[in-house]
Structures are given as structure tokens and as C-alpha cells.
């Protein structure tokens, strides 16, 4: 049985914040889950996907976040509780649906999990998505710990059911990827504690279980309906305001004439800071869990009688601005501060030390910050494309044919790592799918070759519409679809074009080549980038045709070796070695940059290039460009010289 399907128990389990959200959804009776993976939210859909075979829950990796939200909305409109989860920028993709789903509403509970990423651990920006809740008029809860992540998922479902609208659960990386003790409640239909919840019957698979009542004058947002729903939304928001004022998710701890208002993981930093500074008797803390609608009366009552209040929150002054308004409206003589120099920074994550410094400055108490040891400049250890990664081979060949002059728009995935030397194959990136449309724009204003790169999963996510646009406007560029058969960067999730599955090789549901032809592309070729010479011949041919208007597409197709090894349990047959004929031209290091290569210098000053057999994947790309690199057959177990 999957660990998240265990019966309820007093003994707490160590769960990731994301796993706690899954458990909360299971306990709350969610039966329909749709998401596109994205760090730091991916484990939510991944865990559901893992446990789905054991239960009557429909789980899909949707093609993008907008689609996931609309799919999940239909379930909730049919009385089936649903959840969709996405990283913060995913909500930009889904925003069109989100803004109006607030009007249309739902019949059963629907939770929208949105995972912000302060410090951009794994993202292109650090936008504060709490403003989306405010803009859409959707209630929002903000957990601080895995335990709260679970209980607030349940609360979000309850609110959603009560007000017939989606509820947003807003997390940050430090909540999603915090692991902490969580008490497991009972799962529905599992009172006895022995069988999995809503276990599959004999027929297997997810059975239709929703009901839909036709109601077009509430569900079809033509203007006259939208106007009515807009007023209904405002009325719901006023009731939700009262709900937020009463919510036990907003509470105070401590006492004193000074105050702190905070939410999410910042609350944990505040608690440590108050204690470390010995201010338990002097600082009262208001912790907000229900953060939209913002509980203004709770804020007002908290501010009364206080002299100084610091608002501690990551990213934008979302709470702070309201606190200032509330203080002004009630003419309270309290000094409010938050974002500012020497106080709470607007960029990146907080930690307990930053909060202590801000409190020390604002409240005028002493704080000796810890002495931080200095270290010399050290060699960096950036993440890199793996040995044997077909993206490296594609980049090598494209640079050979198109050189430094071409513009290389890129996209989001492992292949973005092509930005690093020696490949340097990334010139512009904005967001998912931007490679295709920016390439089109460049091609209209620059008299230079343009070659755009996009991964297969990203192409399905957001590249298709750009390609249709480019074809219809005769944009002139080469689009290289890096087809490694999986969504590699986020942990090898499936997408519509996958061929490798745990059951072996299958026909893809959506054929990449047909869909590209269907977009109107006529110059299309498919290569295996690990065949270097052939790939370069095809690229040369495509280059020669690029004086003609229109889009050319190259599908560079070779499976992600990590994924292929896992799916097919393939045994590696060869490793490659550098023989004595090596003349140290260093082209392998300077043009390919495979992490298995090592440049060694002996004490005597002799140099040599070596291939680390433990890292070599046997892809053979290096051997196709250099005569001094030869294969060595492996017997059964791979010899390592780490």
C-alpha cells in the first residue's frame, strides 16, 4: 500500500509539505486531480499518480496548467471534488481560467494549489501569487508547516464547498519541501482501517460518478451572465470577509506593546526570532493563515493598544499595505513597518537571522548577529547536462552548422543548461513556449539565422500555438524540438508524446511529427542527435533552405538516458577511452563539455585527457568527433574509477 494511503493513526508520519497536501486531499474526499509538473509543486501530482492504481481517483498529467484547471473545474462542476496544483508561474498560464472560474464557481470542493518560489530556486521569477487571489476574488489559505498544509487543504475544500467557488492554497518552496511530522486522519470509506480508501471495485479504473444539471444562465459567461455573476462574487466576498474574521487559522501568540503580523513560513522565523531575542513578554504575534479576504477587523483589534508593529512576509508587501490602510482608517497611533532597508527585504527568502536583524532595528533591541566565517573563492559546481544527454549532442551539431552568428532562443527544461560554457547555446528565454514566438519576432527584424530550441513536453505545453502563428505569418527560423520522450527536468513525468512507459514501448497518443505537419510545417526532418554526421548533414540541408520564407522544424529525437535506463533496465555495453594517440587539442573539452571528461596534470607537468568510466554513458558522440577515442566493451558489471 502506498504510504499516503495508510489508515489514520495517532503516530505522526514525516511528510513533505506536498505529501501532506495529498493526504489532506485524500482525507477530504478529492477524487479528481489534474496538474502539469513544476518545482516546487511536482510531488503533489507525482504522489497522486503513484497511488492512483490503488484507489478510485482520476489522476492526469495535463498538458499545461490552464488545461489542468479547466479539467478539474469540470469535475467540481459535476459534484466531484477536485484539485489542481501548479508552480507559481503556472498560474500565469491558468490565469484566464482562474479569473472567471471565480465567477462560474463549482458544485463540489475544488482546491487550487499554487507553489511560489522565493529566491527562484528553480524558476524564472519570484512573483507573489497572493495578488492573484485578491485580483480574482478567490479565498486563500497560507500554511506554514506540513501539518498546516494538510489541515488547510481540508479547510480549503470545506470553504470551497460552502461558498461554491475554488479556494487557493498558497505555499512556498520552504513549505512544499519542508518535511515534518503530520498526524494522519481517517480516509473516507476506510473506517475499519484495513482496506485502501474508496478501493477499486472488480471492474477497475475510474468510474464516472458526477452529476451535471444544465444551468446555462449561470454557467455560460456571456456578458449578461457575467454581470450577474460579478455581483454574486462580490456578495460571496463579503460573506467570506466575515468568515476570515472568525477563522481559527488567524491567531495570536505572546503578549506585549509591540506586535508582529506574519503568515506562511515567515511565522516560523518570527517565533524563533522572538524567543532568541528574549521578547516573549514584549512582542505579540498575529499569525494569519486565512489571508484573502484579509481579516481587517482581526488586524484592527490586534493593532489597538500596540505602539509599534512589524509586518514580516516574504516578497511583496501584501499584508503590510492592508495593515497600513486599517491603521489609517481607524486613526490608530501605531507605527507600522515592513518592507524597507534594514527591515524586511522584498527580494528572496527570509530566515530567522534576517528577521532578528529587522526586529532589532525596528524595536531597538540589541542583537549580536553570528560571526560568519569567510572562505576563499571556490570552484563552482553548477548543475550540468548529464553524460550521454542527447541535448548536448544536438547543441554541438547545431553550433557546428550555424555558428556564433545565429540567434538561439531557448525554452524551459534540462536543455536550458545549454546556456553554460562550453555549449553557450541560449540567447533569450522568457517563459514556457517563448522560444517559438521570440524566434518568429527575431526573424522579422534581424538579418541573421535564428534557431530556437524547445523540449517535447514544453512544446506540447506552450509551443504549439506559437508554431501555428509562425507558420501562418511566414516567420523564418529553424525550430529544433529536443524530443527526449519525457518531462525530464521535473522528474520524468509523462506527456502526450511519450513512447516509453513502465509497461514498455507504446505508440504515442499524440505523434509529434504529425502534429507539426498538421500545423502547416512542410520542411520537417527527424534525426537521432547521437548520430553526429547524419545530424549535421540534415542541419546543413535545412540551413540551405532557410533563405526561403517559412518555418523549418528538426525533431532531434533520442530518449533521456536516465529515463530510458529506468524504464527499460538497459545494460550499458561499452565505455569510451582516450588512447595514446591523443594530441591534446582539447576540442572535446572546449566544444562538447561532457562531464565524464577529465583534464589531468601530473606533478611532472605532463597532461592528459581521460574519460571517467564511472560517468561515461557510452553514447559515442565524442568518438564520432575524435579518432583517439575508442570503445571498450563492458562485461557484466560496469567498471568504475571514480
Amino acid at each position: 500500500m502506498h504510504e499516503l494511503l495508510q489508515p489514520g493513526s495517532e503516530r505522526k508520519q514525516l511528510l513533505l509539505g506536498n505529501e501532506a497536501i495529498v493526504r489532506g486531499a485524500l482525507e477530504g474526499g478529492v477524487r479528481f486531480v489534474a496538474a502539469y509538473p513544476g518545482t516546487p509543486s511536482s510531488e503533489i501530482i507525482d504522489r497522486f499518480y503513484q497511488l492512483a492504481p490503488e484507489v478510485q481517483i482520476y489522476v492526469e498529467y495535463s498538458v499545461n496548467e490552464k488545461v489542468s484547471m479547466e479539467t478539474a473545474a469540470a469535475a467540481a462542476l459535476s459534484g466531484v471534488k477536485s484539485l489542481c496544483a501548479m508552480k507559481h508561474v503556472g498560474l500565469n498560464v491558468a490565469a484566464d481560467a482562474f479569473m472567471t472560474l471565480a465567477y462560474v464557481g463549482v458544485k463540489a470542493g475544488m482546491v487550487v494549489v499554487v507553489a511560489d518560489d522565493p529566491f527562484l530556486h528553480s524558476s524564472q521569477n519570484e512573483q507573489d501569487n497572493r495578488f492573484y487571489a485578491k485580483m480574482a476574488g478567490v479565498p486563500m489559505l497560507e500554511p506554514a508547516t506540513p501539518e498546516e498544509a494538510k489541515s488547510m487543504t481540508l479547510e480549503a475544500l470545506a470553504l470551497s464547498e460552502k461558498y461554491r467557488m475554488p479556494c487557493m492554497l498558497r505555499t512556498t518552496t520552504r513549505v512544499n519541501h519542508c518535511r515534518g511530522p503530520v498526524a494522519l486522519g481517517e480516509l473516507p470509506g476506510n473506517g475499519s482501517g484495513s482496506s485502501p480508501p474508496f478501493a477499486k471495485g472488480g471492474q477497475g479504473g475510474f468510474q464516472p460518478q458526477g452529476t451535471f444539471t444544465k444551468d446555462p444562465f449561470n454557467l455560460v459567461v456571456i456578458p449578461m451572465v457575467g454581470r450577474k455573476l460579478r455581483l454574486a462574487l462580490l456578495e460571496k466576498l463579503s460573506r467570506l470577509q466575515a468568515e476570515a474574521e472568525q477563522s481559527p487559522l488567524n491567531f495570536t501568540v505572546g503578549e506585549g506593546k509591540w506586535g508582529i503580523i506574519t503568515s506562511g513560513v515567515s511565522y516560523l522565523y518570527v517565533r524563533d526570532a522572538v524567543r532568541d531575542l528574549g521578547l516573549e513578554q514584549r512582542v505579540k504575534v498575529l499569525k494569519l493563515g486565512f489571508t484573502y479576504p484579509q481579516p481587517r477587523a482581526v488586524m484592527r483589534n490586534f493593532l489597538r493598544g500596540l505602539t509599534r508593529v512589524l509586518v514580516v512576509e516574504e516578497l511583496e508587501p501584501f499584508l503590510e499595505e492592508t495593515v497600513r490602510i486599517v491603521a489609517q482608517e481607524s486613526a490608530l497611533r501605531v507605527l507600522v513597518a515592513g518592507k524597507g532597508d534594514e527591515l524586511i527585504p522584498r527580494a528572496f527568502e527570509l530566515d530567522a537571522a534576517k528577521v532578528k536583524r529587522a526586529m532589532s532595528n525596528f524595536f531597538g533591541v540589541s542583537y549580536q548577529s553570528p560571526k560568519v566565517f569567510s572562505i576563499p573563492q571556490l570552484p563552482q559546481r553548477p548543475p550540468n547536462l548529464c553524460p550521454g544527454c542527447p541535448h548536448r549532442a544536438t547543441y554541438y551539431s547545431v553550433r557546428k552548422i550555424f555558428g556564433d552568428d545565429a540567434i538561439y532562443p531557448t525554452d524551459i527544461g534540462c536543455y536550458t543548461l545549454g546556456i553554460l560554457p562550453p555549449l553557450r547555446m541560449a540567447d533569450v528565454l522568457i517563459c514556457m513556449g517563448s522560444s517559438v514566438a521570440t524566434a518568429g519576432g527575431f526573424s522579422k527584424v534581424l538579418d541573421r539565422p535564428v534557431v530556437a530550441f524547445i523540449g517535447d513536453s514544453t512544446f506540447f505545453h506552450a509551443g504549439l500555438t506559437g508554431l501555428v502563428n509562425a507558420v501562418s505569418h511566414d516567420h523564418r527560423f529553424l525550430l529544433v524540438v529536443l524530443d527526449n520522450g519525457t518531462t525530464a527536468m521535473t522528474g520524468h513525468q509523462p506527456h502526450p508524446g511519450v513512447e516509453l512507459t513502465p509497461q514498455g514501448k507504446v505508440q504515442p497518443k499524440v505523434n509529434l511529427e504529425s502534429i507539426i505537419r498538421g500545423c502547416g510545417v512542410t520542411r520537417l526532418a527527424t534525426v537521432n542527435p547521437l548520430q553526429v554526421k547524419k545530424t549535421q548533414e540534415v542541419l546543413q540541408d535545412l540551413r540551405e533552405h532557410m533563405h526561403e520564407p517559412g518555418v523549418s522544424v528538426l525533431i532531434s529525437k533520442s530518449p533521456c538516458p536516465l529515463f530510458e535506463n529506468r524504464m527499460l533496465s538497459k545494460k550499458q555495453k561499452v565505455v569510451f577511452e582516450v588512447d595514446a594517440s591523443c594530441d591534446l587539442c582539447k576540442k572535446c573539452l572546449e566544444e562538447v563539455g561532457c562531464p565524464a571528461f577529465v583534464w589531468e596534470q601530473s606533478a611532472a607537468g605532463d597532461s592528459r585527457i581521460r574519460i571517467n568510466a564511472a560517468l561515461c554513458s557510452g553514447c559515442s558522440v565524442c568518438a564520432q568527433m575524435c579518432k583517439s577515442i575508442k570503445p571498450r566493451r563492458l562485461d557484466d558489471s560496469k567498471g568504475g574509477d571514480q
Binding site: G180, D351, A352, V372, P376, W599
Partner: protein
């Protein structure tokens, strides 16, 4: 200092290593042991780049504290799975920290292609010793190999931590953690690796 009961408040343990070394599993073992002991625990992990040769950092905070992350200068224990990463994480430590570090280097790509040089190991050890006196260096890979599998070097390092006496966690809690965290078929080999680290620590870390 076997069996010593220390005044216990909170212990902050920072883990650093290179993708593929099993730092997250080691983090989890410490968290499960604290849970089994009935001590409050919170952990932080950063996912996403683990398989691509980058630095992987995580933390465990056990006892009387709320924050799952560790600011600079506040790690009581540094668990470094690689020497260069031990030095890189030194700003997390304070003068009384305990550092448990693996001696086997993993050369970063920038060094491998000759763009950079890996610090000379003796100098690296010296730079650390200058700031923090309580340092246990060990070849965790070799101890793990002797215990039955190189891949269990992460568990060796956890064993060294358990044997250091710095954590208020009993042997039975560690056993519980191994059983709860690992698949049954690899518990045996990891128990041996854990014991090897534990014994190494008890023998004074030599």
C-alpha cells in the same frame, strides 16, 4: 562521552553534498530517528537539480525551534559528503560546531575540464580547522565498501553522527529510523554501514 545527558535545546544540522550521494536520504534518517525518540523535528530539502551534478543542501532542526532552515553561523553540526562542499558550507558553522566530512573528492566539471583547480586537500583541511576545531574526517566510501556497499556511504556518515553523542537519540531510535526509511532488502547492509560509522565515531574518529 557515552550516555552523557546534555542540557538539550535545539540542534541544527546542515547537510551538503553532490547530486547522487544520498544526502536527502541521510537527512530523512536523522528526522525519523528524532521522531522515533519523540523529539520535535523539522527538515528542509531543495529538490530539482539532484541528478545533474549540482550541490544538494538540506537541513534538520531537532528540539525546541520552529524554522526548518539554518541561517549562516547557526549550524551546530555540518554533515559534508564531499570535501570541497564542506569548505563551501563553512559559513553555516560557528566555532563550536561539529563537522563530519567525507574525504573523497568529487571533482566539479569546471575543474575536470581544466578551467579551475580543486583546492589542495591538506590546505582545505587547514582552512576548516582554523575556524572549527571539532572536525571528523573519514573516508566514508571506503568504510561503506568494507561494510558491503559503496552506495551506503551516506549511512556511514549518519552512523558517525549517531556515535558523536551530540544528539539526544538512542540506538533503538536509529534502528527504527533505518527500518522506516529503507526498503527491507537494503536495511541489512545499511545497518552494517551505520554500525561502521558509529564504531568509527566511538573510537574517537580515527
Amino acid at each position: 562521552m557515552a550516555g552523557e545527558t546534555r542540557a538539550f535545546d535545539a540542534v541544527r544540522i546542515f547537510f551538503t553534498g553532490v547530486g547522487g550521494q544520498g544526502t536527502l536520504l541521510a537527512t530523512r534518517l536523522v528526522g525519523e530517528a528524532a521522531l522515533a525518540e519523540g523529539i520535535s523535528v523539522t527538515m528542509s530539502e531543495i529538490h530539482g537539480m539532484a541528478q545533474r551534478g549540482g550541490v544538494v543542501e538540506s537541513s534538520v532542526v531537532i528540539g525546541n525551534a520552529f524554522s526548518p532552515t539554518i541561517p549562516d553561523g547557526e549550524a551546530d553540526i555540518l554533515m559534508a559528503f564531499e570535501p570541497l562542499e564542506a569548505l563551501r558550507a563553512l559559513p553555516k558553522c560557528h566555532a563550536q560546531s561539529l563537522i563530519i566530512a567525507n574525504t573523497a573528492p568529487i571533482v566539479p566539471f569546471t575543474v575536470a575540464i581544466g578551467q579551475n583547480t580543486y583546492p589542495e586537500l591538506a590546505a582545505l583541511h587547514g582552512l576548516i580547522k582554523e575556524k572549527v576545531s571539532d572536525v571528523i574526517w573519514l573516508d566514508a566510501v571506503e568504510l561503506a565498501r568494507n561494510a558491503g556497499s559503496e552506495r551506503a556511504s551516506n549511512t556511514v556518515l549518519v552512523g558517525v553522527l549517531a556515535g558523536s553523542g551530540r544528539l539526544p537519540l538512542g540506538k533503538s531510535s536509529w534502528e527504527e529510523a533505518l527500518k522506516r526509511t529503507l526498503a527491507p532488502r537494503i536495511v541489512g547492509i545499511n545497518r552494517q554501514a551505520f554500525e561502521a560509522g558509529y564504531a568509527f565515531s566511538r573510537a574517537g574518529g580515527v
